[in-house]
Subunit: 449 residues, 2 copies
């Protein structure tokens, strides 16, 4: 018997391979899904069922591709916004045997209308569920977002409350297997810990301490969540069924000349923020490789062509994985070698990093200068530097137009990482007077203490 | 935060790496312990604590080696038979911080006097344990053996009963992390499933359904368990502290001449049973590579020299891992190439495999012939072929002397695998008239149905 978590870094997406008696099921596969078949066959198992907990917003579902590879049946909950063309519909109480394991459907709407949890039973030890795949309904330390139906906000928050009661009714003994861990855009309150049970959540999850339905609804509807534009593309693909990922998951290597000639819609520097600040190719924006899953979808539109600049070939391969998982397949290629390019006399642009002393000085004296805070609204509401302005980093995708290219901007966030993305975006839009507050709010707080 | 199970196949030994905030702990490390350091450092963690649940009988503890590699402190329960020279003693209620995790000591004697369980808390979600490392006290579907103190059998079974109540008192929500899974010599009733909780065990584990202490003691003291002789060596090493494993975990490759000249105490054929039956080097015994952990310790004594015969080099490497984990380090080398040796005219010995029809015929007619059943006593008591005799495969290490080398023996077990080990052992002791019932009790039952 096998139950293995397959974690997708960046997206903090958790999928599961569960098998017994020669048979296996996958819960919420990602797009590059050969990994499930390889792991299953290495354990002598064939994948027969693919369970989706809901129509994902943040990544391309691998269910249709995995079904094509294996002949497995895809199961999906009722009431999606459009038919999920590659899946059969399951209903409350439906049961599926995977060897001696049994998977039982629990309709748990709220996060989405079609949301399903799957309770896991071992028929050899059949009394109560041993686990439950909770999708985006229940996480370790948090519960699902309920902001996807703006006109039905209170209704769907109430539905989630009811669904959580159904999950709790499985009993304290059930291990929970959620679809996301900390770092996901699908929740900001998740625990760092990725293992828990219904019982441990019942007594420790802050959201489950609220026993009044209306209070829960009030709280959920007061939450702030962001929806990057690429969510719409994911929703569409995950009803129609996305395409198989590229067979080769490494971008073509580009020479500097090829890079300069390729005319990509976006030139994306995926090196670490401090490398970008020290020198980057003119016109390039900054999306550090590990931040691609959370931020690429704010700035890149469907079908746009991308050229990458990286520190090494492994970064390029990792970037391609991240991009393909959110359907940004149009990667023309990647270039490695910024320092060698500089050594050949190629012009480099810099984005200075400044420290707290300099920020303080400018706050007191500077003219034609703005300290622009790009953290999210919850962070901003917790504390803010007096005199700074606020635009969320993702919202700069459109709101950069509100800014004045002849003005001097210092970008800040919590540490300097998101500020570099913001600075790079503005630089790629033609802003010349840009710098980054290294350390940002963290350094500011340390100065105050 | 990290919690990873490191499984040792063959021994079905489960150890755990748990970390948070730059710090990590290992629970019950195995002897080849670099894996824990590599996994910890890959996650940005340094191992500071090594927790032993008890003095293991079935494998060499890696605690002293891992402590030497990392500087970590080894913690062990009170009341071992001799001082555990490499460990500090912990007591009920002692607490250790690993980043934001807390590990709390629970004295749980019964399996051994020094047995400890370790409850795991997340200080960010502090209400009740999120998990418990149960060692050999509580498994998925079974509880620990209590046969290690023959003169105190009822007392220690009672101690285990009390210890299990203390584990149950942690609450249904706690995930259990036992030291063994199905296939281990430390329990025969374990579930195939390796994930469970205190709650799921409380309502499903057959042993935990017994709520009367005396009934539990009666049941535990009526169980049959085997103690291979190498257990004594492990017990000794795990108090004194074993040596580091060899740096290179592949045996030296031997030519046929080197193999013939090496004068090893045991020539061990680690190929699969049916390959051994078809032809093996004279004098070799059969211990298929995946059966080494369970059966080598019956036939090999401390310090004896071993030469291996394998199908390929990977088998040799796997065999060395298995052997080193139970302190059989004196591996002279390994030979690959039985078929090429035969092609050079090297003499091969065969051990015929016979079928049910032949066994039936012999049961009716054969003279000077014995059907020898080598299954364990519980299997034998469940069903047996009339006219067969019984000696447990492991007990042939001594009891082969009771047999008559001029008599014809057919070996049987449940399938034919252990029968091949028994046949090979007798062949290596000079028995000439040996064959194997292929399919054994399984085939016999299929014939009856």
């Amino acid at each position: 018997m096998l139950l293995e978590k397959i974690k997708t870094p960046g997206l903090s997406h958790l999928s599961y391979l569960v098998g017994s008696g020669g048979q296996a099921a996958v819960i919420d596969p990602r797009r590059d899904c050969a990994i499930y078949v390889e792991k299953a066959r290495a354990a002598g198992l064939e994948i027969t069922h693919i369970f989706e907990t809901h129509r994902n917003e943040d990544l391309v579902s691998g269910a249709p591709m995995l079904a094509a590879m294996t002949g497995a049946t895809v199961l999906h909950g009722p009431n999606p916004e459009q038919p999920v063309v590659y899946a059969e519909t399951v209903r409350n109480g439906d049961c599926f045997s995977i060897g001696q394991l049994e998977i039982r459907v629990l309709e748990t709407p709220g996060h989405t209308d079609d949301h399903i949890a799957y309770a896991l039973f071992d028929t050899a030890y059949p009394d109560r569920a041993v686990g439950v795949f909770t999708g985006d309904a229940l996480f370790v330390g948090d519960v699902g977002r309920t902001d996807f139906y703006p006109e039905r906000r209170r209704e769907v928050a109430g539905l989630l409350y009811d669904s959580l009661q159904d999950i709790l009714a499985l009993g304290d003994q059930a291990i929970i297997y959620p679809a996301h861990g900390a770092g996901s855009v699908c929740g900001s309150g998740m625990a760092e810990r990725e293992f828990s049970t219904v019982g441990h959540e019942r007594i420790n999850n802050p959201r489950l301490q609220i026993t009044d339905r209306e209070t829960f609804i009030d709280l959920k509807t007061s939450e702030n969540h962001y929806q990057p534009p690429y969510f719409r593309l994911m929703e569409h693909l995950n009803m129609e069924g996305g395409e198989a990922p590229p067979v080769v998951m490494r971008p073509r290597n580009l020479s500097l000349k090829q890079l300069n000639d390729c005319d990509a819609d976006h030139l994306i520097d995926i090196r670490e923020p401090m490398a970008y600040a020290s020198g980057h190719l003119p016109g390039s924006m900054s999306l550090p490789v590990n931040m691609l899953p959370a931020f690429a979808g704010w700035f890149i539109e469907e079908g746009q062509s991308l050229a990458l600049v990286a520190s090494n070939e492994e970064q390029l391969a990792t970037a391609m994985e991240h991009l393909v998982r959110i359907a940004f397949d149009n990667v023309i290629g990647g270039y490695v070698g910024v320092v060698p390019a500089a050594a050949k006399g190629e012009k480099m642009q810099q984005t200075p990093m400044i420290d707290t002393t300099e920020v303080e000085s400018r706050l007191n004296n500077a003219q034609n200068w703005t300290l622009l805070d790009v953290r999210d609204i919850d962070e901003r509401n917790t504390n803010a530097i007096e005199g700074s302005q606020h635009i969320y980093v993702g919202h700069l995708n459109e709101r950069w137009r509100e800014l004045n290219p002849s003005r001097h901007y210092t970008l800040m966030c919590a540490s300097g990482a998101r500020a570099t993305i913001a600075a790079g975006w503005l630089a790629s839009r033609g802003f010349d007077h840009i710098d980054i507050y290294l350390g940002s709010m963290g350094a500011w707080q340390a100065m105050l203490e």
